[in-house]
Symmetry: C2
Subunit: 369 residues, 2 copies
Amino acid sequence: MNKVGIIGYGITPFTKEDQKIENVLLRSVKELFKTNPEINKNELDAVLVSTNNNSKYLSPILSELAGIQPKISHSIESLCNSGTNSIVSAYSYIASGLADMVMISGGERYDSPGQILQWDNSRGEYKHPIFWASIFAKSYKREYSISDGDLAFVSVKNHKQAKENPNAMSHKTYSVGDVLNSKKLTDDLRLLDCSRPCTGGASIILGSEEKVKQLSKCPVWITGIGQKTISAGFTKNISLSSMESTKLAGEAAMKMSQKEIKNIDVAEIHDAFSVCEPMALESLGFSNYGKGINMVKELHSTDNFKINPRGGLIGTGHPLGATGIAQTIEITQQLQSNAGNRQTDNPDVGLIHNMSAAATSSTVLVLEK
Amino acid sequence: MNKVGIIGYGITPFTKEDQKIENVLLRSVKELFKTNPEINKNELDAVLVSTNNNSKYLSPILSELAGIQPKISHSIESLCNSGTNSIVSAYSYIASGLADMVMISGGERYDSPGQILQWDNSRGEYKHPIFWASIFAKSYKREYSISDGDLAFVSVKNHKQAKENPNAMSHKTYSVGDVLNSKKLTDDLRLLDCSRPCTGGASIILGSEEKVKQLSKCPVWITGIGQKTISAGFTKNISLSSMESTKLAGEAAMKMSQKEIKNIDVAEIHDAFSVCEPMALESLGFSNYGKGINMVKELHSTDNFKINPRGGLIGTGHPLGATGIAQTIEITQQLQSNAGNRQTDNPDVGLIHNMSAAATSSTVLVLEK
């Protein structure tokens, strides 16, 4: 299999702006080419668009707007992990030899149709993701004797870290009390426990070994890939306080990269809701079951940005189709020691965890410099 | 690059039925497993859904309904060539070694949102595909002195061939007079010049060399792939009487397969409208420019099913996301000498041409037994 790495990236601020999806995508592509003038658009073999937007033919539209005539062009959708699905697809085009350079552009509007889970009749009328997150929170707290105040540390930490991310939707910081006093949305979740929909775009170019060595001053390689889909319906999950698809995807990514979880220096974790961060940390093996929140608290108290340095989904905002790309850009910046005030201590190996719909499906990527 | 071939397929009748998209997809998957009981669902590494439907997360939904837990799962959209985009994506997963077996399920409802071209402001209010097809027809007829009666042979031939396809939406045959007397929709196109939207599904499983040899009694291999996107907007086309993206995709597919167009024994051509068939035949090199309609007439007069044996889009119906898969299934059946009354004379090499939006993008595949 050919080696695949990252050549360049561009990202927009995450906002509540009412922009057309084409403009959201184009804006991050323009940013990419502005910061990577050495990339020749004529050498892009594929343009993949990652989005939940209902507009059709977005890749040819974006390509035309950006002055690209790719061979391969289409949109990819898998709700919240559309971004990493697109990255794995791009990886396979390059690893197979069908392409040398692939651009992926992820984008979403704040009113994305992917935020309402229409298909799962087992949920009855409870179609908003907060309802599965509430069931997770109730089950997780009960099983491991975790309090609302414990879970609040996820939001406190990630908002603190987002303060150092110029593209985050908000730069406010919050105390545990602020989280607990924020608007109660369900029995188990408050407003500040939740990531917020937003408008945002993130684009990245992957390339073959030859292209990466030619075009990147500081190569970062994708060395591990794991993906797993358990079901579409939440009620098919085996456990309500762990993430089976995340566990299996993590194991596969570790195996492919020949790393162990203790080798991971920095990670992006899909904290769609506060409870997701400790659950994912546990299912990935960063901590024992029931102890993920202790890890969160310790990282917070030592100002260690190891987990979700850009502020996670809670701190940064969650433009569905862009999130997996933005996570991958963050880990790339970390490995390139280019993450500003968010920089962790000289990391060599990073991990991305991106999931959809109550972890019914997950992607885990391992990146190395 | 690992060799990639076809393991099995399933297809539904194309109809005007008002079915849920999930059921359309599931129906062809059930057909696939009914006719290929030796395929182990647990060995499917990926499930890709090809559709223009606005429903999200369809691959995990289909997987759950079908009892599959894939690693890779997402939807792929590129209007009318979503199907072959998905096939090329599946090819790359297998050729790269990331997957050994990939199922692609294409499906569409008769009221697909992909039938209205919302994005192209250069069209003004003319958002239905018939308007670009009319401009093509006017330009093509003028440039090569072709009459409406000449173009009508495409519809006559393809309806005749669709009569032998049990899954075609209609089994009626028509004379040139019938076509010319059918309802005039624009100055240059009549009802019987057009493919019709319909509800239909088509699923196919691709596999690695090892899996194909193990599971297929009559292996068919994908030996050539070509794709090209020129633009999204019709007015960016260089010529209005030829198809630049088809020409480039065809050349790339021929080069990869080390074949010439004269080696092609049977082909599926994207006849969304009658004028598209001779234009595509010319752009692919099957005939000289302006002479494609002569080829159509000769094939018709000799009852030669070489081009669009299943009846093309005009004869069979056009469920957007399923069309490219259905075309690939037809060529597979032809190469396996399993095409019933549509069977061409012992073909060794087949071609699939699938395009979107006035040939602003095209895919060409070469298949060999």
